[in-house]
């Protein structure tokens, strides 16, 4: 009986959703950050997930899959350019570069991440009660 694997799988999901929430938080925090060039402007961060398959030793069958974080990429969407000559960060032509964070997208992402996180918590709770009742086996 491999309950430990299930904890590991749910834990990996919680770790990756936490990373996702982290990127959402930093994206929203930097949504209005200004810079004097397109390169320096804040680019929205997006985490990349992939699956790690676990196989049984005898038959090489897939028995589970945990989540792995491959890294964080930067959004390649266009940077917003505003004409603000009075701004101290403006370049020679009077333009200021703002981040490409899409607040609506980030909010939706945040809801999705927190729902997935709660789902993993629920999995852990159910597995925990399964394991506990198994320990009481034979006691009536």
């Amino acid at each position: 009986m491999s309950f430990n694997n299930i904890y590991e799988i749910a834990g990996s999901a919680m770790r990756s959703q936490t990373l996702r929430l982290n990127t959402v938080a930093s994206n929203l925090a930097n949504a209005d950050a200004a810079a004097s060039s397109e390169k320096e402007a804040y680019h929205a961060l997006k985490p990349v997930f992939s699956s790690v398959y676990q196989t049984s030793q005898e038959e090489m069958q897939i028995t589970g899959a945990s989540v792995q974080m491959l890294g964080v990429t930067q959004s390649q969407q266009a940077i917003e350019r505003r004409y603000e000559p009075e701004n101290s960060l403006a370049n020679e032509e009077g333009y200021v570069f703002y981040s490409n964070v899409n607040a609506v997208e980030e909010m939706a992402d945040m809801m999705s991440a927190s729902r997935s996180f709660e789902g993993s918590v629920e999995v852990m709770r159910r597995v925990n009660s399964m394991q506990q009742s198994l320990l009481r086996l034979g006691k009536g």
């Binding site: 009986m1 309950f3 069958q61 989540v67 991440a113 159910r126 597995v127 399964m130």
Partner: protein
């Protein structure tokens, strides 16, 4: 008359083991709902139990049946653009259902053990 525990407990220990294995693969599906390209899998519980049962029928007294389950791909109700076939609602209901079935199997097993206890106590 000797009691053979494997025979006395019947199919229930196998059902329990199958439930734990299935909860692992369902937990994987739930963990990977946001992973692009992940293909949801599930076990055919009915087929696995039929397999164990047929081993029971054909076996001698010293033979212990083996539980073998093969993972099969889930057919999604609504395929996602990123190729992920795990759907939160579907997987959640299957996981909860499986956990409840685990408790039922456990109850059956407990009843079997209590029956054996009565025989041993001679009541």
């Amino acid at each position: 008359m000797a009691i053979n525990f494997d025979k006395a407990l019947g199919i229930h220990p196998y059902a329990l083991q199958a439930r734990v294995q299935r909860s692992e693969i369902l937990a994987s599906n739930l963990a990977n709902v946001d992973t692009p390209g992940y293909l949801a899998r599930d076990y055919d519980f009915k087929a696995a139990m039929a397999d164990v049962e047929s081993q029971f029928d054909n076996s001698g007294s010293a033979f212990v049946p083996q539980l073998s389950m093969e993972a099969q791909y889930r057919v999604p109700y609504q395929p996602a653009l990123d190729g992920n076939t795990a759907e939160m609602g579907v997987e959640q209901s299957k996981f909860n259902n499986n956990a409840m079935d685990f408790q039922s199997s456990l109850t059956f097993l407990n009843m079997k053990i209590q029956g054996l206890q009565k025989v041993i106590d001679g009541r």
